[in-house]
Symmetry: C2
Subunit: 340 residues, 2 copies
C-alpha cells in the first residue's frame, strides 16, 4: 500500500496518536465574512425557506403534510454538508507508509437546519419546535449508528463566527467517523477502568457527588440534570445528563427528550442573558456505535460558551485556563432559572 | 482536606483526566477590544519603551550598559504576567473531595517583551535581535526548570486576537506548571514505548522518514530542520526541530540557536507572505523539567497559523479538520524560501 495523495483521508499522528481529517473539499467553502467578524445582515441565506435548491437534496425533513421534498413547507430539514469532512461513499481503506498510517475519510457529515425562518440561536425558535429538533437529532444519530464501519457520532452546534459558524441561520451538524476520537478514547479508558474496579458508572458517581455538594447544580428535573462541571474549560460551561444511567443518546425515551429540550432551551437562554448573547457551541456525546455492553458510558450534552479565546497555550498543551469558577457560574444560572 | 473554594487551583477532570487552571485573577484582565476584532490603533501600550512602570518590575532585561532596570534603554524585557494563571509563591498543596482532586496553582507565568518599539510580529524585529530573543527564551526556561515542584514549561507566542493575543506589541509567554499537561503526557507515553521497543527516538525516526520522502520538507540547515507534519491540525502548520537528538530546549547550543532564529524568522515570514499576515501561534515543546534520561523526547517548535477556526467539533472531540494537505503547504513554503 502506498501513501495516499488525494483528499479525504484521516491521518494519525505517530506520537500523540490523535487523528486529523485532511479534507480538501472544505477548502472550497465560501468564507462570506472576514474571519474575525460575526456574519450579519447577509443578503442571501441558503438555509432559509424558499432557497431549498441552494442545498444538496434533503435526507429527511419535518414537513406540512402534502408538501414536496426540497421545496417550502418544512420546519426542520436535514441535508448533506456541501463541503463534507467525510464521505459515506468511500470504502474503508487503510494506507501505510513507513512510520505513518491513515484511513479513507469514510463517514457522514450532515446539517440539521432548525427552522424555516432565519434565526441565530435555538432560543429564538418557536416554543415546542425545539423538541422536534431534538427528536431529529436522535433519529439521525440512530440512522448513522447502523451504517457499517462507522464507530462514533457527535452532534455539534456552532453559534457565532467565534464558535465556528460560517452560516448564521440556526443549524447543527452531525459527524460520524470510522475512528473513535481522542477525547472519547481517553474517557472510555478511565470509565472502563473505574467500572471494573467499582462496578459503577463513573458519571453516575459524579452526578451523585454533585447532587450531594449542590454548589455546581444548575437544574434538576425528573429525568435530566444540568450541572457546571468541576473542571470546566470555559466560563459557564454546563453539562446536561440523564439522571439514570443511559449510554446511547439515540435510544433516549420521548419523555426524557421532552424534558431535555425544555432544560437545554432554558439553560442556553440563561447563558445568553447573563453573557449578552455570546458565541457558543453545544455538543452531544454518546457511547460508540454498536458497543454492546456500555454500563460504563453515560451520554451528555456540553454547552460551551466562547467568551474566552483558546489561545496558543490551550492548543499546545490541552491544558485550559478558565477565569470563572464553576461554583460562580452555577449560582448565577440557578438565580436566572429560578424565576421560570 | 476539604474542597478549595478560592482561586489559584488546577483541577483534574475525573473522567478525561485532563487538567484545567481555574484562575480568577485573569477575570480582571482588561479586554480592550471587542472579542472578534484585532486590536489596532491602541492609544496606549504597556509594553512600549517609556511605559515600564505599567508592567510589574522586570525579572531580567537586555539593556544598554549603564541603563537602570524598569526604565528605558532595553531591547528585550521579561516581566511577570500581571494576570497570572499560576503563582510561584504558592506552596504545592493537594486537595481532595470525594471523586475530585486539585492542586494549588503553583507555577510561573512570565511575559517576554520583544523589542522596545511597537511591532506586531517577530518578522518586524530588527535583524539580529531575534537571536537575542531566542536566547532569552532559553535562559528563562533554564531558570524555571530549576524551581522546585515545577514539572514542565512551555513557551507560547500569540499574534493577533484570533490567536489569543490581548496585547498587540510583540511578546511571548512562558508558563511552567506543577503537572505535565495532557498532550505532553500522551506524547511521552508513545515515545517511551517506542524507545523501549526500537531503542530509537520516535522523532528522530520521523525526521529520517521526512528527509527520505521530501514532500513535506520546508528547510534543512546544518542543525535545524523545518517540516510540515504528516497530520497537521492547521493549514501551513510547520515544525522546527534540531536534526540531532536533543530533548531540552534550555540546553540548546549557541550555534543551534543562531540557526534556529534565522530559520524561524524565515518560515514565519513565508507564512505571513502566503497567508497575508494571519493570526498565528508558535510554541516551544521541551522535555519535562528534571527528567534524567530523555533519549526518547525531542524538542520542537510548532508554528500554528490560525486561518481556520477551531469550532465545536474540534473542542468536543480533539479531532481536527484541516482543508490543506501538508504536502501543499510545504511546496509553497519551499518556493517562497528558495529565493532567500
Amino acid at each position: 500500500m502506498t501513501e495516499k495523495k488525494t483528499s479525504g483521508e484521516i491521518r494519525k499522528d505517530p506520537v500523540s496518536e490523535s487523528w486529523v481529517i485532511i479534507a480538501q473539499e472544505r477548502a472550497n467553502r465560501p468564507l462570506t465574512t472576514a474571519i474575525n467578524n460575526r456574519p450579519q445582515g447577509q443578503q442571501f441565506c441558503p438555509f432559509c425557506e424558499g432557497y431549498e435548491s441552494e442545498t444538496l437534496p434533503e435526507i429527511t425533513a419535518l414537513r406540512t403534510p402534502g408538501m414536496k421534498a426540497n421545496g417550502p413547507g418544512w420546519s426542520v430539514r436535514v441535508v448533506p454538508n456541501r463541503y463534507p469532512a467525510l464521505d459515506t461513499e468511500l470504502a474503508l481503506e487503510l494506507y501505510r507508509s513507513g512510520i505513518y498510517c491513515s484511513i479513507a475519510a469514510r463517514g457522514a457529515h450532515e446539517v440539521i437546519i432548525e427552522g424555516a425562518a432565519h434565526t441565530r440561536s435555538v432560543t429564538e425558535l418557536p416554543s415546542g419546535m425545539f423538541t422536534e429538533v431534538i427528536k431529529i437529532y436522535r433519529e439521525r444519530l440512530a440512522s448513522l449508528s447502523r451504517l457499517p464501519h462507522l464507530r462514533s457520532g457527535v452532534l455539534i452546534k456552532n453559534v457565532g463566527l467565534a464558535a465556528g459558524a460560517s452560516i448564521e441561520h440556526s443549524h447543527s451538524q452531525l459527524i460520524a467517523t470510522p475512528i473513535i476520537p481522542m477525547r472519547l478514547q481517553n474517557e472510555l479508558k478511565t470509565a472502563r477502568a473505574y467500572y471494573r474496579k467499582q462496578r459503577r458508572c463513573i458519571w453516575c458517581d459524579v452526578l451523585a457527588e454533585e447532587r450531594r455538594i449542590h454548589s455546581r447544580m444548575v437544574f434538576e428535573g425528573d429525568e435530566i440534570v444540568a450541572v457546571c462541571p468541576y473542571s470546566p474549560r470555559f466560563p459557564f460551561e454546563t453539562w446536561l445528563m440523564p439522571k439514570r444511567h443511559h449510554s446511547f443518546f439515540e435510544a433516549t425515551s420521548d419523555s426524557c427528550l421532552v424534558e431535555l429540550a425544555t432544560a437545554l432551551h432554558a439553560v442556553v437562554w440563561a447563558i445568553e442573558t447573563i453573557l449578552n448573547n455570546p458565541p457558543y457551541n453545544y455538543v452531544i456525546h454518546s457511547a460508540p456505535f454498536k458497543s454492546k455492553n456500555c454500563s460504563y458510558y453515560h451520554w451528555r450534552i456540553e454547552i460551551l460558551p466562547r467568551v474566552t479565546r483558546a489561545a496558543g497555550f490551550e492548543q499546545a498543551t490541552g491544558l485550559f485556563i478558565n477565569p470563572t469558577p464553576p461554583e460562580h457560574s452555577a449560582a448565577q444560572l440557578r438565580e436566572h432559572l429560578s424565576g421560570l
